[in-house]
Each structure stands twice: as structure tokens, then as C-alpha cells.
Symmetry: D2
Subunit: 270 residues, 4 copies
């Protein structure tokens, strides 16, 4: 069990007319973490409208902002209670999958798993099924895709990554997800806050595969230990997990998604 101190600030310039925002930056209501304290504020002060996704605990917050600068700040103290996998978790045959998990077998915007069956079989078809096979997928992606900021765009999907062989955390996660699905392993994206030094702090993306009777988190980039992720969104892929969606004449100014080990921070602040 660890406690993290999240301090995330987003700044926008709204031009000319009121604009709508949907934020997805709050720690999820999820069994793997407990929110000890949190505060979502805006400057100027606006009222947020909240929505919690019943299936995954993901939280959306909507607001309407008048023209001018908008500062969003999310402060939270979150305790993570990550359940470490044993490595013996087994793949679940389709006939035994909970039917609400089935949707995570289908392809999605950035994970065209429907086109990857042969590729997945060539590389992973002969491996023993289970946790180790998902680890092999992570390893293959790490060996075959270069982590390089600026090599992908918001429209980059797995088809592109397989050709260009470069991307960032979300591309790594998408490729792993698509390969899992192509092998009939349910998989989905998890975004969150993570503490790493290099590259510079950003929202992070990992993925979960359904093994044994539960979802297990994997970070194929190895940028962060899985147990240190403060979860925000759990979705089919990044199409549903944007940390902010902007409607109107808005300019993005800056963002700073900081995370601290809660103890070390208190020292710094003390």
C-alpha cells in the first residue's frame, strides 16, 4: 500500500464565446485504490457536473466556461492497493467469460484487432496460454516498437504503429490490447497518473488483460511499476479516455500532471 499526492493543473484560453469542457482527470472509483481526499476546482470558479461510469468507476466532469483563461486543478491523496499477479493466471475460454467482459474482445478505434489474427498467431500462437503469453506480447512490443515522443498523433492506430514501429505509452498499450484481443484475450486501456522522471511527466497509459477471474494490469513501456498507477479511465481504448475534450474556440495553454510520493512531499512542503 502506498499513498500518492496528485496535483494536476490544466490551463486553457477560451476565446470569444462560452465553451464546453469534459474532463476525465479524477482518480477512478476502483477497488485497487482509495481516494483519501480530493478537490477539483476551477479558476474562475464554475460548477462541475459529474458522471460516474457504473461499469468501470471512471468519472467525467463537465463545465461551461466563459471567455478568458481557465485553470483547472485537481488535488488528490490516493492510496493504491494493487493486487500483484502470481504469474499463474490462466486465459479464460470464451465459453466461460463473463458476458459483460465480452465487449473487450471486439476491435475499437485504435485497436483494429479484427485485422491482426494472423500476425498474433505467427508470433504468439504457439506459446502456452496464460499470463506468460501476455507478458510475451509486452516484451515483443517493447522489442519491436521504439518509444519516441512525437512519432504518433491523436489519430494513430495500431495499424500505423505496426508499420512505423514507433509511438508513446498509449500506442504501446493499444498494440498490446489489439494483440490480446486477436488471441481472444479480453483487453482494455487504463490511463492514470504515474511517477516517472524521463520522459517528462504526462498522463500515462497501461492496459489490462482479463486472466484468471480478474483484470490484470500491464505496462509494456516499463516506464512505471503497475502498482504505482493512480487510475483515471478504464476504457476500450483512448477514444473514450481523453483527459479533456474541448468544444468551442479553445486554446490549450499548458498542463502539469504531477504525482508525488505522499510522504516525500510532506517533507518537501513541511
Amino acid at each position: 500500500m502506498k499513498v500518492f499526492d496528485v496535483d494536476c493543473e490544466l490551463v486553457y484560453a477560451v476565446n470569444g464565446e462560452p465553451a464546453d469542457f469534459i474532463f476525465n482527470i479524477q482518480a477512478a472509483h476502483h477497488p485497487d485504490q482509495r481516494i483519501l481526499e480530493e478537490r477539483l476546482t476551477s479558476e474562475p470558479k464554475y460548477e462541475f457536473e459529474h458522471h460516474v461510469d457504473s461499469g468501470t468507476g471512471m468519472r467525467l466532469a463537465r463545465l461551461v466556461a466563459r471567455p478568458g483563461e481557465l485553470r483547472i486543478r485537481y488535488r488528490a491523496l490516493v492510496e493504491t492497493r494493487y493486487q500483484r499477479p502470481t504469474g499463474d493466471e490462466e486465459e479464460v475460454p470464451v465459453r466461460l467469460l463473463p458476458l459483460e467482459v465480452i465487449r473487450y474482445l471486439w476491435p475499437s478505434r485504435y485497436c483494429e484487432s479484427d485485422s491482426l489474427h494472423r500476425l498474433a498467431m505467427v508470433h504468439f500462437g504457439a506459446l502456452p496460454k496464460g499470463y506468460g503469453r501476455v507478458e510475451s506480447i509486452c516484451q515483443w512490443v517493447r522489442d519491436n516498437v521504439q518509444y519516441a515522443i512525437g512519432t504518433s498523433t491523436p489519430s494513430t492506430s495500431v495499424r500505423d504503429v505496426l508499420v512505423n514501429r514507433a509511438g508513446v505509452c498509449r500506442d504501446f498499450a493499444h498494440l498490446c490490447i489489439a494483440l490480446c484481443r486477436a488471441l481472444n484475450i479480453p483487453a482494455r486501456l487504463v490511463t492514470g497518473y504515474a511517477q516517472y522522471e524521463d520522459p517528462p511527466p504526462d498522463f500515462h497509459a497501461m492496459f489490462e488483460a482479463y486472466l484468471g477471474d480478474r483484470w490484470i494490469l500491464f505496462d509494456s513501456t516499463r516506464l512505471s511499476p503497475e502498482e504505482d498507477l493512480i487510475r483515471i479511465a478504464t476504457t476500450r481504448d483512448a477514444a473514450d479516455a481523453a483527459f479533456a475534450t474541448l468544444f468551442g474556440p479553445i486554446k490549450f495553454v499548458s498542463w502539469r500532471p504531477d504525482v508525488y510520493d505522499a510522504d516525500s512531499r510532506s517533507q518537501v512542503n513541511g
Copy 2:
């Protein structure tokens, strides 16, 4: 109000070892229709495991089949109660959209709306907002895409259709959906049974746009009146709406998704 008699048969050959099937061929539990009678059976006789999607009333049925021929038959008497739009329905600003509708603004596997903003603005940006704008989208798709069986595949997405300018009902629906989403109009796929003569009967696909305070059905192909659709699936796009998903060594043999006007049928059978 009309009553339709659905008689759908699917035939498969299962080779060598037991195989898993997920079917999505039952009339949905939806306010626009009432299921008067229904029977889903298999030959040989297997037990189906059922799941109803709480949000949309879509129904999945799973079974495991032993090697050999498998025949699935779905018979239903369904009364449709279609609520005709007035044509005055308005687009809903993002700030007023129910938050559970927001997800139908995001891009999905076959509807890369994230890439279509400029295209949508060029063609539809200057039109008055509301029902008529969605009709204009339907019209544009009809004028610019050729309905031609065999021109698209299960991996064809809107990006392809915009280039190739050919497709079938699902491609038409996907393109309309993507254009709506690019204009911030929530939109989603609806599949179902429809009665038309030419092309030969098949599962049909339409789409719904969120206008006024409800979902309104549109068929940009004009193959079928919207009020005659017996709804099966309501989903982000075809990735979630396959009428059958097969896991294992299975060969598809034939399908026959027939629909009759219930009265005329009784005469035929009488």
C-alpha cells in the same frame, strides 16, 4: 403500429472440436418495439446463456456446440411502435447532453470521426443545425457513395469509404455516424431485420442521431422505412454488433434472415 414475423436461420459446420458462438440476433428490449412471441432454438439442442445490455436492451446469446452441423433458428412476432420525428428536432449543445450520451460523440473502430472535422465543416458546417442537417448528411452519403454489394469487407472503415465511395448499408450508416460525431451530434449504429426485396434479404443497418431529447432513426440507404426496422443491436458501430461471433474451427454455411408482414404471412400459411 405493425406486426412483423421474423424467421431467421443460421447454419454452421463445426469441425473437430467444440466451438463457442455468441449470437446477437434477437429483437432488442426497446421502447420502439414489443416482442409478442419469440423462440430461439438450436439443432442439435443446446442451452443458450443470455445477457441483456442494460443501456440499450441488446441481447447476446452464447452457446458451445459439439462438432457437426449447427442450425440456429430465431422466430419472433414483433410489434413496432415507431415514433415518427417531426423534423423540428434540434441538436443539443454538449453542455446539455445527458452524460451517458457523450460516449456516442467519440470515434470508434469504423467511424474515425476524429479525422473528419474539416470534411464535415466543409459540407455541413454552414447548414442550420437540427434534424435537417442530419437529413443532409444522409442525402450527401447517398449522392456520394455507391451502394454495391462486395465493395467493402469486415475491416472497411469510414476512411476507406470516403476514398472508395462504395459500400453497403453498414458503410452508409458508419459514414453518417462519423459525420454526425464530427459535428458534435451523438450518433450510433442500429442493426435489425428489415423487409426489402432488392438486394436479397440480409441483416440491415441504420443509424440513430441524438436530436431533441431522444434518439432518432435514419436509413441513409433508403432501403427500408425506418418504422419497419425490427431492432437487434444498438452500438457504437458494427464492431459491437456482429450477428454472430465464432470462436473455433467453424465454417459458415448459410443464413436466411427473413421478415414478413405478420398478416400477409398468416394468409400464406393459412
Copy 3:
């Protein structure tokens, strides 16, 4: 040295109005083969207009056909004089490449080598340069792409093959070409007649890489020995090598690109 007897027939139906055809089915004027005899005829009898590409010896024949059935027949007796590589041929640094060979480094319609640099470096960057590296590319393509008729279309490019991992001879050749170019090895497509039993006879496609001081032929499909190819076209890729291009209301009826060992045929015919 071997002698082959080519007997190729193409049949079309021209509807309504005269139509233009460009054929590319004659044995090339190329140092690796000698045309002992040949006859290109049409039924009805039309005059062909001929063009020989000065760089590669590829030959185009154009005709205008009136409505009705058109039968094209090409008969030729061709002696091949294939120069077997030693396996020691070296890659040529760009500074030493003949400048007219440079064009075969650029990407082309079906060979998006500009996007494959990282992929090529991951798999082949560490291998010793030279003939063996091109052989490794052939082997990798054979191991990673399934030869399967019907899995690709005339618009399938290397980007698609890398994802779908299936294709026919031209797709295999395109992928090898693109990987060579991504490594700065000039490479190009060679089409021709080849004698193989399974799959059924068709125009074949191989590729050449520029190694040592010459172009060396490779068949990554292993369907045919390189020395048995009767060369037709030598081009950047299949975009320039269609065996027939049709302009007008034409229906393709049948084709039969047969090749016989000249001696065995005389016995059959004797």
C-alpha cells in the same frame, strides 16, 4: 540454359463501344533471355501498336477493339540464360550506385518504404550487409506472411500486408522490395511467366535487388526457381506492370498464362 514455350490466352467481352487495351504480356528484351520465336495475335484481327521501354526492355502493346469478344494470344519460344548469383554479392553504398539505379530506392505505390525504416532496422539492421541480408528478408517475409489467394486486392499495399500478414506473389515481392529500399538497397518488381503446379498457373511476380554491380532476382514465395522465370515487366512495382489495362466498357472473361518446358511440349504435341 533452358527453352520455354509460352502460350498465353486472354479473353474479354467489349460492350457497346470500341475500347482501348494496353497489354504487357510479351517476353522482355532482356539479357537474361532470348526470344527464339514469338507471335502476338488477336481475334478478331487488330493491329497492335508497340512500345519498348528503353531502360528495362519491357514491352507494351496497345490496340482498339470493337464491341464483341476479343481473344488475345501470345505464343513464344524463349531461351533463359539466367546468371546464378554467387551469394557473395555486396550491397553498394549510395555514393557508388549508378545514378539511374537511384530511383529504385524511392517509395512507390505499393511499397511505402519511407515508412519502414524502423521496422527494417529492427529486423535486419544488425545483419551483415550483402546478398545474405536480402535472403534474410525473403525468409522473414515467408515466415511472417501467409500465402493465400484471395486475401489481397489490387489496392493492397505493403502497409496492409504488414498488418494482415497474408497475400500472393506480388504482395510478397512488394514487401521484400520495400524492406530492401528501407535499407538503401535498390529493389524492383519483375513479373513473368513461371511454371508451377500449385496454385494454378498465373502471371508470377518476383523482385530484383541491386547487389554487386547488377540486379539479382529473388522469389520470396519459392513457388518457382528464379532461373525459370520468363521475364515480362521490370518496374518500380505492380502499378506499372499490369498485364492488361482496360479503358472502356470491358468485361474480363478468362485468362490462361501457360508455360511448358519446350522439349516436353514437343513430345506432347509430336
Copy 4:
């Protein structure tokens, strides 16, 4: 007749080991222009190896540079003798096209005309054939694609532009070329120097269509009058027209492709 003063400078940093460059920045040997004076130099001083494409007069210059800074400078005084079209030029039926022009009907890396037949027919199929139809294509591209620097990359092809509806001069030219080819009008890319104020000076791209019995230049961006282009490359598309191709550990530092009206310049310099 006009005289232009070209003054182009390219700067690179070569790291660690000698590197190869191929430049394509010299005014072409072409009937539409006369090179009155020119000088291609490098600093440090290296010898260039020259190649002229016999078909199009395009000129390649190769050099090997040692580690360190490399400055390339091309100065030329070029008289343009543009032959203005009458607007009555007709499309040439395939049966009458010179056979060496046929290659400009085929698809190429960035111009997937093979996929655009339906799109071209929908928009331009009913228009009268000839010069005016190509002008309509230019107009449609101008109306439907936003000129916006930074919206496309070196791998962007016409398929992408049709979806994203944004690009720069080369994307505009590519789309026009592909639409022409889809209508059986031979078309090709022309790059060169052009004098315009906004956006900042860069190598420019236009295209030519084969009409009447000659190639006619069109600039669908309208950034520059066609008669003011100092032609560099004439190629299938940008795949063959890179102003510089770099082989080795090279960093691009800056470029400045200036053009002046020769008279005004002399005043400045006088």
C-alpha cells in the same frame, strides 16, 4: 518572358562519419525555361556527380560529405518562357496518347488513383472533357482542402488528404494528379522555385496534365502564377522529387530557397 534570380541555400550537420547526399535543386533542362547562368557550390568544397533524366530534364547531383557543417548553395539566372494554354486543349483518348505518356496514368506512392475512380466520376464524370475539367478539379480541391502548414507529413498520401481535408502545395498537387489519372488524364508533379510572400518561401509544387498534345501546368493552390515557376523536378509524384535525400548521420539545419525578379534584385544589389 521573365528572368528570375534563384538563390537557394541548404545547411546540414554531418555527424561522425562521411555521408551521402543526393540533391535535386537545380533548374531543369526544359523547353519552358532557359538557364542563363548557374552555379552549384558546397562549403567545404566537394565535387558533385551529375545526372540528367533524359525524359524530363530533371537533374540530380550527388556528393559525399565529411563530418562537419555542409553548406550547399545554388545560384541561377533563369529565363522562363511559359506557353500559356488557350483553355481549348482537349483530353486525349488512350488510343492516341503517346505510349511514353501512358506511365502517368498509373497510380504512384502518393497518388492512389486506382482507388479513386468512383469519387472522380461522382464529381467530374458528367463535366465536358478537356482543359475545363482539369480546372474544375483544381477548383474542387481548393474548395475542399484547407491549405494549412503542418497538417501533413512526408508519408501523407491522397487517401489521407481526402479524409483529413488539409495539406500543403504537394498535397494539393497530389490530389489533382490522382483525380486526373482516375479520369484517364495523364498527370504528374512539377516542383520548383516560386515567388510568393505568404506562406514563407519554400520549394513549391504544381502539377501538369496532358491535354491537347502537350503537358499543361496547373497550380491548384493559386499561390503562384504558373508562368513564374522555375522548374526543378518533373516526376510521378513527390516520391521521386525530394529536393535532398540524405544517407547517413545527418541533421538538417536550415534552408532558404529564395527567388527574385532578376531586375528588382539587381537594383537591390546595385
